[in-house]
């Protein structure tokens, strides 16, 4: 038993030690699980080429190449903007919550400050989590701007990023105004932002 546990009140210690005992589980449930797994396709590690493409990284390009890339990013950004309008979910939609990731089109391919916005009037604190901060809810707390609006600026490298908002430390919500990311396997929905172009 750990020292921390020993230092507890005896009654709390007893509750903890009882709760550590094994629970009886239905053996058929494990069999059902293994049967279900056998019907699944074999998982594969993400291909190296795709992983390389998706990994954000600083790039150094000659000025002409950078200008050409920025010009093409503007084109993609305009298409992305049209897609969001067709979706019919304006970023200022009203409660229960609504939000938008606003990516600023780059002049170059250097890291850019991206503004994230969430409308959550009932929240007492909100933070931004994503693959860029290790899904750490302490890393990027959002600031209350009044009228239930929460914002934060985060510098992001060019590339695709997955993110989510955490309301009051435990409630994960995807950005309702951005595309939903493929299932991350963690049981909550995330959104996608493409830096250096627009949301995919």
């Amino acid at each position: 038993m750990s020292d921390e546990l020993n230092s507890l009140d005896p009654y709390v210690q007893w509750i903890a030690s009882e709760a550590r005992l094994s629970v009886a589980v239905d053996p058929a449930a494990r069999t059902r699980l293994l049967d279900a797994l056998r019907t699944e396709p074999v998982p594969h590690r993400r291909g190296r080429v795709l992983a390389w493409l998706l990994e954000p990284r600083p790039l150094a390009l000659p000025p002409l190449a950078a200008a050409a890339l920025a010009a093409s990013a503007v084109g993609i950004g305009m298409l992305g903007g049209l897609a969001i309008h067709r979706d019919g979910r304006p970023s200022t939609a009203q409660p229960p919550s609504a939000g938008a990731a606003i990516s600023q089109l780059p002049d170059s391919i250097a890291p850019r400050a991206i503004k994230f916005v969430l409308i959550a009037p009932q929240a007492s604190h909100v933070s931004l989590v994503g693959d860029f901060n290790g899904w750490n809810a302490s890393a990027n707390p959002m600031k209350a701007q009044g009228a239930g609006m929460w914002t934060v600026f985060v510098p992001l490298q060019p590339g695709m990023h997955t993110y989510s908002f955490v309301i009051d430390g435990s409630h994960f919500v995807a950005d309702p105004a951005a595309p939903i990311a493929p299932d991350d396997g963690y049981g909550h929905r995330s959104s996608v932002v493409l830096v250096g172009g627009s949301s995919l």
């Binding site: 750990s2 921390e4 546990l5 507890l8 009140d9 009654y11 709390v12 509750i15 903890a16 009882e18 709760a19 550590r20 005992l21 094994s22 629970v23 589980v25 239905d26 449930a29 494990r30 059902r32 699980l33 293994l34 279900a36 797994l37 056998r38 699944e40 074999v42 998982p43 594969h44 590690r45 993400r46 989590v129 899904w135 750490n136 809810a137 302490s138 955490v166 430390g169 435990s170 994960f172 299932d183 991350d184 396997g185 963690y186 049981g187 909550h188």
Partner: protein, 178 residues
């Protein structure tokens, strides 16, 4: 064989290697799910979904992370999702809990009824306090591990664990002389 080696074998096409991972973690995950959700049906639901999600996402698992921590992260989120869904659903659990709460408190006889008593006491805690208490003192994780797993800061987690212990102690003070 280590977790990492089994993960590699699954990704190489040896699907049976995942059964070894299930065997290794099933009981521990079952314990957390039952203690967290308070009934075996929901716990089984959480376990099924957790292992299926882990299997499907195995290609995204990074070897620098402990497999157990990665799996627990999925499990904790599944338990939260199921608890949230249950609250929005028929609220059967709430009714059951209300019956239990209205039952007269009495000191446990430290024998066969202990598990039921402990389950009831845990169910009385706020879910976030219960989760923090279980991760700390039942799963015996460090606060840093808990923080990585839940996305909540260490100081907030310490506060939750302290509040959980305070509530349990206060409950004991209420019933010990009966």
């Amino acid at each position: 064989m280590s977790d990492a080696a089994d993960v590699q074998r699954v990704l190489s096409g040896d699907v049976d290697a995942f059964a070894r991972l299930v065997d290794r973690y099933y009981e521990r995950c079952a314990r957390f799910a039952v203690r967290m959700l308070g009934n075996r049906d929901d716990a089984e639901d959480a376990l099924q979904t957790t292992f299926l999600r882990a299997y499907r996402s195995l290609g995204k698992y990074q070897e620098r992370d402990k497999f157990s921590a990665w799996l627990y992260r999925i499990l904790v989120n599944q338990c939260r999702s199921i608890a949230a869904r249950r609250n929005q659903r028929e609220r059967v659990f709430v009714r059951e809990e209300a019956v239990l709460l209205n039952a007269p408190d009495r000191r446990p006889n430290w024998s066969g009824e202990d598990e039921e008593f402990v389950q009831r006491v845990l169910a009385e805690l706020d879910p976030l306090l219960r989760e923090a208490f279980l991760l700390k003192y039942v799963e015996e994780m460090s606060y840093e591990e808990m923080s990585t797993l839940t996305g909540v800061g260490v100081s907030a987690l310490k506060m939750r664990v302290k509040r959980a212990c305070d509530r349990l102690r206060a409950r004991w003070e209420r019933i010990k002389d009966e």
